[in-house]
Amino acid sequence: MKRLLSHPSLVIGLSATLVFLVVGIVSLIWTPYPIEQIDIPRRFLAPSAAHWLGTDNLGRDMMSLVMAGTWTSFLVAAVAVAIGVGVGVPLGLAAAAWGGPVEWLVLRLTDFVFAFPAVIVAILITTLLGPSAINAIVAIGVFNIPVFARVARGGALGVATLDFVAAGRLAGLGNALIAWRHLLPNIMSLIIVQGTIQMSLGILAEAGLSYIGLGTQPPETSLGLMLRDAQGVFLIHPWLTLVPGISIVLIVIALNIAGDGLRDAIDPRLRQGNPNVLA
């Protein structure tokens, strides 16, 4: 732990992320104004003591919207990461531990899911079920599955060639126990690093999906939905797009810095590029 805290970028990134997360959590119990409170006469107000970030085109308090939107963004991205980890990591571990046809199947499956960018999944689900925040979660979660499956398999393959895995097999451990006892603990750090990266990508993707109307729906709000609401008036009232936009950028930067710091702290040789999930 002390070793981790000696990396300044990790500390900065994590603390900034935590600040946003706390703001989001606070919105669950308290916001300056109720977010669904529409007050047309008080619309387009500039920032003031009563409304720290002003009001939007429906007279809603921007500060309250940003707080609630931040929470939605975190929630969607976190659940999507949980889906990715929950399904992808077991798949990747199984591929590495069993090998042969299991591995072939997992690889083909990940190849296949890579052909479905989050937008396409969201389009298909929305066509069927109508728009909702769940769509965004499922669409981003589906995209996360092959990402984590690949990371887990790649990491586990590197570990699986080490002799202690063979020693475990000699001791009569089956594939499942090998994966649980020897492979998983040694790839945890990889998964945590990938998790922060997918968190930040998930927040961007949620914003994109909500912006085109395939994600969060009113009266709920999210940072992407705020941008959608501002779309019609942004040429006259750019402030309405600046506030949620800058919030997204800051959260994503915080997560990315934390991720980079974590990667450096855990293994400086782990640097690699990451494809953008947003689409």
């Binding site: 060639t161 080490l162 002799d163 202690f164 063979a166 020693a167 475990g168 097999r169 000699l170 001791a171 009569g172 451990l173 006892r181 020897h182 603990p185 040694n186």
Partner: protein, 532 residues
Amino acid sequence: MSLLEVSGLSVRFGDTEVVSDVSFSLQRGERFGIIGESGSGKTLTALAVTGLLPEGAVMTGSISLDGAPLPQQERAMARLRGKRVGMVFQEPMTALNPLMRVNDQIEESIRLNETHGATQIEVPYLLKEVGLELKHGDRFPHQLSGGQRQRVMIAMALASRPDILIADEPTSALDLITQRKVLDLIADICARRQMALLFISHDLKAVGALCNRVAVMHRGRLVETGRAATTFSAPQQAYTQKLVAASRFDVRPLSRPPIGNTLLEVNGVTRDYRQGGMLFWADKPLRAVNEVSFSIASAECLALVGPSGCGKTTLAKIIVGLDKATSGTVRLAGTEYRGSDLPKALRRDVSLVFQDPFGSFNPRLSIADSVAEPLRLEPGLSQETIQARLVEAVEAVGLDAGMLTRYPHEFSGGQRQRLAIARALVTRPKLVVLDEPVSALDVSVRGEVLALLARLQADFGLTYLIISHDLDMVRAMADRVLVMDAGRIVEEGKPEQIFAEPQHRLTRDLMAARLPDVGIVASTTPDRHPRA
């Protein structure tokens, strides 16, 4: 005036000094060897001489070539080293650009160091000089074997007709026969071209075979410098004495239980590996082990030797139950099996000690957890019994029971190999398979581990199957030797007999490739024999 003069050379990374006050000189046509274990600073010394130190390394002291100090400016230094110094590195697998054909890489070396008026060296000439054929030039590095790649490296080093060849562990990644061929090639070329050699190695015999003058390096310092013959036959420093002793594998004969009846029988075992190809047009399978039959008697020490890729490790995996024979069977204590179907009840009777002490422990588990893992094969043991067995095993390998609560990274390579042996013994097995048990260890600890193995065999009446490519280790340990080549057992006999009168072509090649022992007879250049 010396060709190369190094004086007071120190290299430091931050606060740690890794090379301290090293001085030596190299005369024209002389062959000088630097001996040291891993981490002794020998490679950094060579890199310093060529101005190739990694980023962050700070160098002090002076290095001069023909009396002139090395240039400070990067480009001048680069051109000077291209022109005057040829280099061959340890890792032939990664030292060549994977995307460029061999011809183009050699050609680049020639073009970079052209001198006007001099007759042009051509690629075919260099390929021939290093014993490669013209067709090898058209290939990419990954299409060549390790030995061939190392020859390409030598060809590139020779392209500028350098005065000095620096070879940093050029053969330690190669198998025995290839190692000898490459060493002979280096010796030949140095003699023919009147080129000075700076040879860097952990292997005393290789240095002894090539060099007329040696220096011993330990923890960044040169501890002893002198003529090769005298340094090895009468080492002055304690560290040198230890190295020379360790290079000989003197394992004291102990009184052992008599060799008994057959314990394990291998009957016509064959292992095929499916190769690439698609579902319908699968390629011809690769036969790693081909109709192998032999037996081991209890309390015997049997050695299986052969070059890398001969199938000896696959065979060991089948015997311990990690891999499965395509056909044939193994019979242990009356039970037949084909490999991974080895019944659980019998698994505790065989165990395996791995080659690499660093990979054989899960870094996330305590030593106790790792060593106790095989005890799962004996269900129903109480916690106290498990604890007692752990202590017994760890103390048997000469370590303290207090170490059980610690984690693998806290131990040195030699200690880990002892712990790996403890894990192999914890189920009280009858047969222990040792896969290259000391080849990943530093020379100075190899002897200790072998002595431990010999003592354990005497104390517990263990049966050993040693898998190795190291003939000297085998001679010191084994009662009987099997020689394996391309999946088959090609020769069998007592070690003395095989060493004195090798029958099969491979065995003869292996014997011929052995480097002379150091310190016993004054070592000079290796005797020439035709290159294959």
